[in-house]
Symmetry: C2
Subunit: 342 residues, 2 copies
């Protein structure tokens, strides 16, 4: 049984997954593609996965049959389990919650061979439609505090199944980086009565040196203090704390933006492995006797995607200290991407 554990010294929750019956050398993992003769994410293999929780079926076919464009299924090997009651206890100076959560897979296309940068804007918009639908559904579950949606592309980025897909994790805790961003956004808003990300975006648009792309709805820039080479933030230009508020028009604009960015990255960095993470507002924290707080996501937060090509593993002490050394300035990264011939 998995557990979530909190260490006061690092002030963070960590998921400890029990994998029984392994010998120590089995922990020395080389990441490997899962090789199967038949891909479980292709048409006709729907019975090899758990039953779908969402599917986009233009022809209104039967569930768990071919005919879908995007399909969402529970992960067959979930990190956290959906069944059971959330339990929390102290253990001396530590805290423990049992490993309750949701872990789903968003299959982005039925076509096995297509890469993320091959998907057209309208197809990416359909994927985002699935994200939106799952966010709206899962946030009704009062056990969860936050929903992360992320995509690993390429083996080095953690994609063990090559058929392009994203994943969703609903967590009963707030991840550390989100807590920091929430606090920063809240403090900034209290002091200035303006959104921190809105101000950052205004500065990036006016400065321009780190800007990769902008249209009426979204801007893409390399963060001023990028921890990794070629990290990008995809940010809605209007203040929105919640991805689920995106209109169909904005979903399509987001599809155009991501399509363009993926093409540029492919041209400049030769189809790099990457991680794409949705940083959405957390689900509201319950307060004793105030059930209305449940549905109020913090509006001083501004959601964004962060896209990080995995072209360089952090060496040495970055993981231990949280202090990162980046050999590529975001100004250089942005310039290469702006000038990319696609």
């Amino acid at each position: 049984m998995s557990e979530l554990r909190w260490d006061p010294f690092i002030d963070s929750w960590v998921a400890i997954i029990e994998a029984r019956g392994r010998r120590p050398v089995d922990f020395i993992t080389e990441r490997k593609r899962i090789e199967t003769s038949v891909c479980p994410f292709c048409y006709g293999q729907e019975d090899k996965t758990p039953a779908e929780v969402y599917a986009l079926r233009p022809d209104a076919g039967l569930p768990n049959q071919p005919g879908w464009k995007v399909r969402v299924i529970p992960n067959k090997f979930p990190i956290l389990r959906i069944e059971g009651q959330l339990e929390a206890r102290g253990e001396g100076v530590y805290d423990v919650k049992n490993g309750i959560g949701a872990h789903e897979v968003i299959i982005e296309t039925p076509e096995h061979e297509r890469q993320p940068a091959d998907l057209r804007a309208a197809e990416l918009a359909d994927v985002f439609r699935a994200f939106r639908s799952r966010l709206v559904d899962l946030r009704r579950d009062k056990r969860f505090r936050h929903i992360v949606i992320y995509k690993n592309h390429g083996l080095e980025a953690g994609a063990t199944i090559p058929h392009t897909h994203s994943q969703l994790l609903a967590l009963p805790v707030i991840p550390p980086h989100l807590r920091i961003a929430l606090r920063a956004s809240r403090d900034y808003f209290r002091r200035k009565e303006r959104c921190l990300m809105c101000d950052m975006l205004a500065q990036e648009l006016s400065d321009g040196r780190r800007l990769v792309r902008v249209d009426g709805e979204f801007a893409v820039f390399a963060p001023f203090a990028s921890r990794h080479p070629f990290t990008l933030r995809i940010v809605p230009r209007s203040h929105l704390h919640d991805f689920a508020q995106l209109t169909d028009h904005m979903l399509l604009a987001l599809g155009e933006t991501l399509h363009d960015v993926l093409r540029r990255l492919r041209a400049v960095l030769r189809d790099p492995p990457f991680n794409l993470v949705l940083h959405n507002a957390p689900l509201a924290v319950p307060r004793p006797g105030r059930p209305e707080f449940w549905h109020s996501l913090p509006a001083d937060y501004h959601w964004y995607f962060e896209l990080t090509p995995r072209i360089m593993d952090p060496a040495g002490f970055e993981g231990g200290t949280g202090f990162f050394i980046n050999p590529t300035s975001p100004e250089d990264a942005a310039r290469y991407l702006v000038e990319a011939v696609q």
Copy 2:
């Protein structure tokens, strides 16, 4: 010129290193050993490195000549530069400092072929003596806020030169993880008038399930919420905030502890690559008109080493969210290490 940059949204400093004249594909790095016909860390090659800043020479020989047991030199390709005045400025919502710092290399033995686990306790104590000496020297430099000492062993852990060595970085900023631990330690002490790490250690000693080793001076345990498989903390049993306070007796005890732990890791995980990071108290923050604060390191902090074998790269969203998924419980890791046949 390198820069330290602060992003309010991640509330962290990042070092941006300018590497001019590279093409984008040059950023796709496979970590490679630096192949030289002659190792610059061996006897007789002292003139191939910058002039030493410390050396342990039992026979009192000349500097920058053979005869040393441990030798400390400035890094030939420093991440941060020692020359110049520390300058800080705002840039809109961001903060910038110029890349001032110290970056040194501690060559742990003149013998090229010896691995960390081959070094005897007394030899490791000599390495720690060099750490202590450099900490005492560099903390007089008022530009620095913190000194990190770390060791990368093995290519996957970032060691591009095979001759065993550690590195030291003196920073004009406090790394993010340290800031969190400082705040946690301070808050805990204010509330309980006890040290957080002392209480954690007492719990680990009494529980025993995560304990790998203990003697009169040091304890080694797998943290309750380990972010990575087989991470270990090496902690002094008496409350000490500052590594530089270690007596010669304690340096030797620490050498015995590390020697034993490295042997156990080598036996269980087959000579894994690893990172060892010294988490010492930061140098005090200056206060206007209160120069006496310069030399008061925060005494509610408790220093420790963290040792992390690099046997599994974090995949997917760990880097983005700070939320880690660890497939090995610390109880399992500790049991394997306790039972190790060395």
